[in-house]
Symmetry: C2
Subunit: 277 residues, 2 copies
Amino acid sequence: MPTNSQSRDVFYVSDGTAITCETLGHVVLGQFQFDVNEKTFPFVESEDKLSDLLKEISNSYKNKGNKPLVFFSIVIPELKKKLLDAPAHCYDVLEDIVKKVKNDIQIEPKPKLQRSRSVSKDSKSYFDRINAIEYTLAHDDGIKLTNLNDADIILLGVSRSGKTPTSLYMAMQFGLRVVNYPYIQEDMSSLKLLKEFEVHRHKLFGLTILPERLTEIRENRLAGSKYADIEQCISEIEKVEALFRREAIPYINTSSLSVEEISARILERSGLRRRLL
Amino acid sequence: MPTNSQSRDVFYVSDGTAITCETLGHVVLGQFQFDVNEKTFPFVESEDKLSDLLKEISNSYKNKGNKPLVFFSIVIPELKKKLLDAPAHCYDVLEDIVKKVKNDIQIEPKPKLQRSRSVSKDSKSYFDRINAIEYTLAHDDGIKLTNLNDADIILLGVSRSGKTPTSLYMAMQFGLRVVNYPYIQEDMSSLKLLKEFEVHRHKLFGLTILPERLTEIRENRLAGSKYADIEQCISEIEKVEALFRREAIPYINTSSLSVEEISARILERSGLRRRLL
């Protein structure tokens, strides 16, 4: 049996989407220094599906010589029992915390199949989310500057500073209506705040970025262009940051942040409340 | 002291974005039958920020007469200790599982500040994600039908069957390049597969929806329109479903599914691998 302690197979298993298992498993594994080979098994609600998984677990154990890790959430007792009998290290991502909550608040839990954000459960939050996505798409990249009264936040920044992914993430995850507006080369000579934004000053938020990082990102898009040139990047960033300072627009540097981190920091700084959907 | 066992204050607290705490806390609370009033405290990395939180916990306890629930992940020992001393039921979302993994695989964890999807950690997966979002935006709603070779999947369906949110979610969460194409009223008389899709049959996936649900969604958008009329919805759905069957395109009904569930089911059915970003 070959052994290789440097790498492990990891399975995320759920009777729902398995997104919770993935999210938690990822963060847990981030605290360890070994390579992982990940695979997700969602909607494991039947013996059939479980047996596909059990085969893979068994093969993994045979081939690797060590037990794979399984982050799981399964409600049906028979399926759970069979999974726990497999040659794997299994971690129920909910069980311990649900037990503790139950003991603390003395309310009996009703385990149910994992249905994150079920439509039927709450039609209003579904529409809030869909409407936020639609609004945000219509106001991406300065396409449209009308209906700004309905905006929750307006992001400003040079091209490729992270506005579009951040806007979409905030709409999708938090149900926020986001406008984003790019400052492009042609605007730069006498940069000032658009009239449309004057009455919405409290909604403005700036994104900036290190010139080296901006060059790298723009090279990825248009290699060798003036647009990606470091001098160009320096000049655009200087002018836009000067505008942010002059107009007292709060801003953050996105260079080393993920889309999740940028979004969370904007919400925090702007005092916007997350709409948990 | 007023008591109200029907409702609880819940805090999600992290030295990072707190997204993991929110995700897990949500699912845990979904198993209990009481109302929650939720608030998130991200980036709690200093005494200052902690003390804001401790004040809110203390107020909550005084006002409600029962301890709030705190789902947290904090690495800095002094901050964690102070939080645990607060009048709250505190649940470390990672601790137990990290300990178990450590015992099982005999590798020491290196606790680190929560940085989900850090850019610096992995520039490649950052670009994969950004490129997927960009591709998906450019191919939303049939805008563009070029470069289909680069598509991971092509979603088909009537207007408002869930294509756009699903496409964006799949791009954002799994780094997939998604094309979506709407069948609109005018196409319906002699519905057939577009030539552009012929060589990409293996990438096609259909979304359908119950007429009653479609009417509801379209009413939300254009109340009283022919577009939202139930007869119109029935007729469009019938024709598009007939096309799916005739062309052997796999499809799912999105009526009672969240965007997360639709995405997860499509991945499962199509055999596409999630790119965990």
